[in-house]
Amino acid sequence: MKTTEFIEIAADLDNPYLQKWKAEGKKVVGYTCSYLPDEILHAVDLLPYRLRGINTTSTMIGDTYFGPFICSFPKCVLQLAGEGQYSFLDGAVITPGCDSMRRLDECWRKTGEDYPNSAPDFFHYFGVPHKIVDYSLDWFVDEIRDLINAVEKHFKVKLEEDRLRASITLYNNSRKLTAKLDQLRIQENTILSGSDALAVILAGTALPRETYNMLLEDFLNDVEGSKKESNGKKKIMLLGSVDDSIELMQTIEGERAVIVADNLCFGPRQNVNFVDESEDPIPALAKRYLQQSDCPRMFGLYKERLETVKNRVTEAKIDGVILQNIRFCDLHGSENGLLERDLEAAGIPCLKLEREYGPMVETGRIKMRLDAFMERLDK
């Protein structure tokens, strides 16, 4: 598969593979956060679909349920739901990635009452602890079991252990392929722009995993030997709030930069840790998903996150780090301040960038900051 095809899939909510899945009578369950184990849904023949808020032209519906001083990401997701654009969903699982996303649970339920067919029949709240301790791991295992029970009851399916083990293996294979993609990005003369890499990863959130693994493997075989993207360009690492905007990545990269690494929740970071296949599957999934330290939703792990970024900066020979956050994103807004302080102290140039989720409406303002940052890196 070529990059352009991944871009086409990533640019839309719907795609031909999804249509085929639905035409075969199979079900799709949307979810909001990278802390949800896809393997659970996959093992009972449901397509796990990561919810996005792309291509919104207004937040008229979202504004009814959310206040004005709140992250625009859940608002855009709700807008699309209210417009009926998520009518292909058979279920939705909401996770407390942050308070704004947690609010999506009750806001979407209410929208479902006001706008016909805007909320799927299956609606489940999946709690995720904010700390990693023994009892929170037990709680998370309970949450996974509750999700399994709810799914089994609603969709009249039975989760078999061997099917779950097979799903874990499949997703681990996917992680190996994404790790390869990630390595291609950080090589001396990278052959992949950050926006293309994002498109490849985004496509994976909306395709059946078997298909995606096949397409990704083909892509990785074909892409070797492509023209170099990084010749003389500044190497950038992108951090911060949820970002599935190819346009934002392209604006950042422009003619002078290439994003060779990121630590975004739609980025490759979800694919670096494997589920231990030798353990009992449910506790193994709980460990793998809860023990992700990359999101600032997790308490007490800032030092680990800082070290991860610093190591990546060294490994990928990063020239500068861009710390973006969606307006009113408290988690990344505050963490970006800490990261800026500590990375600058370590001699790593940083740019903080605040933006809205949704269509790019502030290109001039953002471009001025980016230009000034690139000029600083030129010195």
Partner: protein
């Protein structure tokens, strides 16, 4: 004799400057038009006319400001942060920290001994803390921008605005006007609100002496005085030229460096 030009097309005003022998030989400030190219053409024509020069007499132009990418007569473009840094250094050689409040941005940056930007931070939330905020508020009070500073110096009991969000502050200003508060006290409250927003940026970057201020808001004594109090440091007033011209001056200086085959940044 080499003449270079700087054209700074901002969101509110456009500025043009011509430099010869390290001297500003002509400058102009106009209200920006809808299309950046029209603003650039108009300000360039005005400054050329003032100097009795033709377009071909200028050896190299550099464009900056929000509309920089739309100007067809410039040789290259640079960000306004780079140009304000260079311009500030020329306007005040000892400057190491620059506060630039433009139409839709407030920026604070540190510069080195050559006027090159070492580090910068910008406002992000919205229009509060920008020239647009002051413009909107001046319109509410029925004042010219320049009058805001003069009037606020006469305030006895400056109003404290609960919100520096442009929309909420506008509603508050109307409420105070209708309640019969002195316009001087309201003007001072607006300037203080503005200074509060910008002071956060100045503190964050850990400003070093000398501090100077560029951009149109530098001419509002009310904001500058309030800002000095908040940051507890002196802000040096720029006298050599209009501080609003700093970006265009920096662009013209970089154009000169370019001609000398030096790397502009």
């Amino acid at each position: 004799m080499i003449i270079t030009g700087g054209c700074d097309v901002g969101s509110l005003t456009s500025k043009g400057v011509l430099i010869r022998d390290n001297r500003v030989i002509g400058s102009e400030i106009i209200k920006s038009k809808v299309k950046p190219q029209n603003s650039a053409d108009a300000v360039m024509s005005a400054v050329l006319e003032k100097c009795g020069l033709g377009r071909d007499d200028v050896h190299y132009w550099i464009g900056t400001g929000y509309g920089r990418d739309k100007i067809d007569f410039v040789g290259e473009t640079l960000s306004e942060i780079a140009c304000h840094g260079k311009g500030a250094k020329w306007l005040m050689p000892k400057a190491r920290t620059v506060i630039d409040i433009g139409g839709q941005d407030a920026k604070t940056f540190k510069i080195d001994e050559n006027g090159k930007v070492e580090r910068f931070i910008t406002n992000d939330k919205c229009a509060s803390g920008t020239g647009r905020f002051l413009e909107v508020m001046a319109r509410v009070l029925g004042l010219e921008m320049e009058e805001m500073g003069r009037l606020s110096a006469q305030a006895e009991f400056p109003i404290t605005f609960a919100a520096s969000c442009t929309v909420w502050a506008q509603a508050d200003a109307i409420k105070y006007l209708n309640s019969g508060y002195n316009i001087e006290d309201i003007a001072a409250g607006i300037n203080n609100a503005m200074a509060n927003r910008v002071a956060v940026l100045v503190s964050t970057i850990k400003a070093e002496k000398e501090i100077c201020m560029t951009g149109g808001v530098a001419k509002n004594a009310g904001v500058v005085n309030a800002l000095e109090k908040l940051i507890g440091q002196k802000i040096r007033r720029i006298r050599r030229q209009d501080p609003q011209l700093a970006g265009a001056i920096g662009a013209a200086l970089y154009a000169g460096e370019k001609l000398k085959q030096e790397k502009p940044i």
